[in-house]
């Protein structure tokens, strides 16, 4: 028996001690993880967290939006083309390349490439241009103003700025009226309650209310405020554009909630939205000449130009790109140089 004991070498003993210590440390770490990490966990049990994590990884809807400082959120880069990634047209003619920044909501997706294609076709030896698309779902003029301020502070110096707005400014009346973002209701709830909450926190989804006219505000008064906020946003965009020496053009976009396009549509607060657009769009058309750089194209969309969810069809993308190109070439921002 004594001989058997002597057979265990010192190395084995050390290995055994190391393994025992490691196992003990892992056990302690495990017990402490259960105690400490669980306190802030998204679920009561880690196994439930595992199921949820795997489930959300498999889901296609995950991370449709990501947090973005100063503008609060942006569309996830994987959802559409990454925000600001340029679509270029480099002409054979030597010279500077114009950096043109497009701002707007989700409808900008597709217009940027249409614009470049039409430009190449119409002006094969025109000034070189790079289109940077900063469009993102739910963005509206004030949010684009803040985005522009942020880009300028980060050192961006575009030559031309193009803003395509209207739908989100007047559809989501509440954020536009209060100069907040689409997800402000969510951030506010988390920040004011959830951030410091130690117990269960219940989140209230009030997104549907964003399109509604406030109960105590008459429709016309509310719509006038939205117009005033919109034009004030354009004024402030011009202030920044002047500062960096950029040319700026605003387009009031075709809307599925105006004129014939709205027929047969039903959604929450539809009547509020329709009457708002019926009031605001004609007013903006009248104001066309009094707002510098402003072009009204709110009436170029027909009933067949919108998909069932209100997005632009490819044919409407073409029409909008054509209008923008026609305006920019008319004022000789792009196109042929005078000496060409």
């Amino acid at each position: 028996m004594e001989q058997v004991k002597q057979d265990i070498s010192a190395g084995k003993k050390i290995l055994f001690i190391i393994i025992s210590v490691l196992a003990f440390v892992v056990l302690i770490e495990g017990l402490l993880s259960v105690y400490f990490y669980r306190q802030n966990g998204g679920e009561s049990l880690a196994s439930m967290e595992m199921i949820r994590t795997i489930g959300s990884k498999l889901s296609n809807d995950k991370d449709l939006f990501v947090f973005e400082p100063w503008v609060e959120y942006k569309q996830h880069d994987g959802f559409s083309s990454a925000q600001g990634t340029p679509v270029s047209y480099l002409s054979e003619i030597p010279g500077d390349t114009l950096d043109i920044y497009f701002f707007g909501g989700a409808n900008l997706s597709g217009i940027d490439t249409q614009f470049i294609n039409q430009y190449k076709e119409k002006f094969p030896r025109g000034i070189s241009a790079r289109i940077h698309n900063y469009g993102s779902s739910h963005y509206y003029s004030h949010q684009e103003l803040v985005l522009l301020a942020n880009l300028i502070q980060s050192g961006h110096r575009p030559d031309v700025l193009v803003f395509l707005d209207g739908i989100n400014d007047f559809l989501y009346g509440i954020p536009s009226y209060q100069r907040q973002s689409y997800f402000s209701f969510m951030f506010r709830q988390y920040f004011n309650s959830g951030l410091r909450s130690k117990g269960k926190f219940t989140f209230l989804d009030t997104a549907n209310a964003l399109t509604k006219t406030p109960d105590l505000t008459p429709n016309i008064e509310f719509s006038d405020s939205l117009i005033s906020n919109y034009t004030s946003n354009l004024k402030n965009i011009r202030l920044l554009a002047d500062m960096i020496g950029a040319k700026v053009y605003f387009f009031c976009e075709p809307s599925p909630y105006y004129q014939s396009a709205k027929t047969h549509q039903t959604f929450a607060n539809a009547q509020d939205v329709f009457s708002r657009f019926d009031y605001i769009y004609p007013k903006l058309q009248q104001m066309q000449d009094s707002i510098p750089g402003f072009t009204y194209i709110g009436d170029i969309g027909g009933q067949n130009d919108f998909t069932s969810d209100g997005s632009y069809t490819p044919s409407l993308n073409r029409k909008v790109a054509e209008k923008i190109l026609s305006k920019l070439s008319a004022v000789q921002i792009i196109g042929y140089r005078q000496n060409q």
């Binding site: 770490e29 495990g30 017990l31 402490l32 993880s33 259960v34 105690y35 400490f36 990490y37 669980r38 306190q39 802030n40 966990g41 998204g42 049990l45 880690a46 196994s47 967290e49 595992m50 994590t53 959300s56 995950k62 991370d63 939006f65 990501v66 947090f67 400082p69 100063w70 609060e72 103003l145 803040v146 301020a149 502070q153 980060s154 050192g155 209060q178 100069r179 907040q180 973002s181 997800f183 402000s184 969510m186 951030f187 988390y190 920040f191 004011n192 959830g194 951030l195 909450s197 130690k198 269960k200 926190f201 219940t202 989140f203 989804d205 004030s232 402030n236 202030l239 002047d242 500062m243």
Partner: protein
Amino acid sequence: MNTGKQKTLWVRFRSWIITLLVLLFLFEMFSSMIFFQKYGTAPLAIVQLIKKYTEKSVPQTLYHKMHILTRPDSSKQASIQIANEIWAANNYSYEPWLMFRVADYSSAYVNVTGFERKCSPSEFINPLVNDTIDIFFFGGSTMYGWNLSDAETIPSQLLNLYKQKYPNGKSVRIRNYGITYYYSKQELMLFSKLLFEDERPDIVIFMDGLNDFYPSRMLFHDRPYFAYAMQQVLDGRMFEKSRRTIVDSSEIFYLDVPGIPSSGYYENLFQKYLRHVKHGTELANHVGAKSYFVCQPVPFFNYPNNEQDPISHKDKSNRINFIYPLLRKQQDSLSNFLFLGDMLQNEKGFPFIDQLHYSPAFSGKIAENIFRKIEKDLTN
């Protein structure tokens, strides 16, 4: 026999149950280590345990003592009241685009409305002169006046200096937009917001350094202090009904970014701050305002008496000791830049009321330096 068989079955069943429970517990334990780890503030739960029991917070009596010590001319009762009111006002509310601000608060010594900390006095009106100069102050908690009363803040003391020296001078109105945790970029965004609301100041003063280079990841990643919370709201769990709380990972802001050599990281911070100074100048010029950028004193730099100071922060910051000398040199090339990083060189008293924030007397000295810099704009 039957009883014996039943007993054996029961023993087997019991051992199965126990084994199953142990396995479930082990599974839960390993799952916790993997899936809950992201919610922790330390990479290991053991580290979190150690931190929990070794972290020291300043006891309330000591906190009151610091207030009493740095206000030799005030009553003990007034100092304690200021200390208590400052803590009561330490709340934040959500603010679109800028993310947060100090929540509205009203009391005898501490008053906050919207983005403004109250100045006392807030204006000097000379009825004999038509011209009124509007001055906006921007900064973090030191400009806000953390641990100070409204009247002890830098803007309030600056206006008093002006009134005393120029009793027949132009009218001056001041606004204190100092907000706890704000850094240079956030202040620029606030300045832009005010301009968008048609505010047109004549002079803007930005005082920075502490929040730009101490919790330096805010400047580096361009993410304000509570960005971690906002990020968690949108990280795929936004529609969940029962998330318990947002994980506070703010302490990471204070660490260098791994994988980047220190000098490269510090140089990057320096360049980013300079860019904000240049852009702030450009923006102010564009709206016809004079702008000044003040680099503030911090206990980490050129403070020989730091070890003897019973209140100030004792850390040695390589980062700030790299960046501040570079900023000092900027005074020669940027006429609107004021480097006050050397102000602590000969300080022997109590320049700090807590580890990082200025005492009433030292705030007065900073106000004096800023006043000297802008004096010509107030008298021309």
